[in-house]
């Protein structure tokens, strides 16, 4: 038994590590889902909005995409309370991540919508579809197929960026692992273990993405 101190410590710390994993999955999932919804509206606004709307959204996406996620998360953690918005560290980190996700997905959605040939929406209009019907039944299904691969990338970026929440004290998987390390003084195996879990999560996301791509691919 004493020959395998790492496995013993891992077993002993399983609760803490599972909690960390749970937080990582929760914050990533929430950031991806909420950020994608935000990004969908941002992309629609960038494509169809008036001059002011587009300018405002352009400022948002350029600002966020030009800022390191690390800075973004710190900003949410330190600046939001100053503006009177009280958040927990988890909430502040989530806001940072979803703003990050929203700006990237917004750009992806805009690019996909603008890549659809103009004849498609004109054919929709010609059979009498309203703007929203045209969007839902003609444009978005085509845009989604193009969005999927890049969207999967964005999702894996969010999972990786969730490790940055450790610096504002959210005990997600990385911080949970570091806490175990500082107690057990077993460094490398635990880091490798955490790394393997992140890899597994992103591998699963990518496989899921590939599967979805195959499902919706057109002959």
């Amino acid at each position: 038994m004493t020959d395998y101190p790492f496995l013993m410590e891992l077993w002993a710390a399983r609760g803490a590590i599972l909690n960390g994993l749970g937080l990582t999955v929760a914050v990533s999932l929430l950031a991806i889902v909420l950020g994608s919804i935000l990004g969908l509206f941002v992309g629609i606004g960038l494509t169809y909005g008036g001059g002011m709307v587009r300018f405002a959204l352009r400022c948002y996406t350029e600002l966020i995409r030009g800022t390191p996620v690390f800075v973004l998360i710190l900003a949410c953690f330190y600046i939001l309370p100053v503006t009177g918005i009280q958040t927990t560290a988890f909430q502040a980190g989530l806001i940072g991540l979803l703003l990050f996700c929203g700006s990237h997905v917004g750009e992806i959605v805009r690019g996909a919508l603008q890549a659809i040939p103009r004849g498609q929406s004109e054919a929709g209009k010609a059979i009498g579809l309203s703007f929203s019907q045209n969007f839902v039944y003609v444009l978005m299904p085509q845009a989604l197929r193009q969005i999927l691969p890049t969207w999967v990338n964005a999702a894996t970026e969010i999972v990786k960026a969730s490790t940055l929440l450790s610096v504002i004290g959210v005990t997600e998987l990385l911080l949970a692992t570091q806490q175990v390390i500082s107690r057990t003084f077993i460094g490398m195996p635990f880091y490798l273990f955490a790394g393997a879990i992140y890899f597994a999560i992103n591998f699963a996301i990518e496989q899921l993405g590939r599967y979805a791509e195959r499902k919706v691919s057109l002959p």
Partner: protein, 267 residues
């Protein structure tokens, strides 16, 4: 000046199916339609010919409200479309009204523009279900009838990517006519096709013409235009230069421009 419904009543006595009056259309500062008048009675088949850039496509797109126009009036069955008079001013109709006006006409495009993510059948049923609000099985029955009509019933479950250009265009025509438009617009529906696929599409169009469908066509297939049309319109630089029965226009062109144009094409 008058409410759209009121104008229906006033012109109902002599109902032209399509009446275009003094149509002006400019892209920014470039005027591409410089006062065009066209009238089609029910059942008329009228073909627009003219060299590239003369404004044929733009005219059709205005009728289907895919383009705004700055002056003039387009009426379908006496109802002004796209714009209305309000307090003496000309105002664009709302999106919902425009969608309703568009449903009065059907359009077939040079590039087919089938929806690539839907099968041939679903391309046709989409409008029937979402715009005409038909039940699915009712829509399918109508769509199958039209797909059969254009010889595409067997391939109803194929996606556009699995069909030849001629087959795609036939499905696109079925998609448009299934909506029972009062007027069909065909814009060079065979120009993007390989030569051996042209006839299968033209015979579909000809069949619709024989059934009494009112249509306004643009084509470079002069023999076809000659055979199918009640009248030919020759457009030149945004204006109608000459108009009349095919025999007159093709055999005794009056204007110099038309003579020159006919020389450049083979019939």
């Amino acid at each position: 000046m008058t409410h759209p419904e009121a104008s229906v009543a006033t012109t109902a006595a002599a109902p032209a199916l399509l009446r275009i009056q003094d149509l002006h259309k400019a892209f920014q500062t470039v005027e591409v339609l410089k006062g065009v008048d066209v009238t089609l009675a029910r059942g008329d088949v009228v073909t627009i010919i003219g060299s590239s850039g003369s404004g044929k496509t733009t005219l059709l797109r205005c009728v289907n409200l895919l383009e705004e126009f700055q002056r003039g009036r387009i009426e379908i069955d006496g109802q002004a479309i796209g714009y209305r008079e309000q307090g003496g001013r000309r105002v664009p109709c709302t999106g919902a009204e425009v969608a309703r006006h568009r449903a009065l006409t059907g359009m077939a495009f040079q590039q087919f523009n089938l929806f690539p993510h839907l099968t041939a059948l679903r391309n046709v049923t989409l409008g029937l279900i979402k715009v005409r609000k038909l039940a699915r099985d009712e829509a399918v029955a109508i769509a199958e009838k039209w797909l059969d009509r254009v010889g595409m019933l067997e391939r109803r479950n194929h996606y556009p990517g699995q069909l030849s250009g001629g087959q795609q265009q036939r499905v696109a025509i079925a998609r448009a006519v299934a909506m029972t438009p009062r007027l069909m617009l065909f814009d060079e529906v065979t120009s993007a096709l390989d030569p051996e696929l042209v006839n299968e599409v033209l015979s579909v169009v000809q069949g619709l013409a024989q059934d009494g469908m009112t249509m306004l066509l643009v084509t470079h297939e002069m023999r076809f235009a000659y055979e199918v049309s009640d009248r030919i319109i020759f457009m030149n630089q945004g204006r109608i230069e000459e108009e009349g029965p095919p025999a007159d226009l093709f055999n005794q062109p009056k204007s110099l421009r038309l003579k020159e144009f006919l020389k450049t094409i083979k019939i």
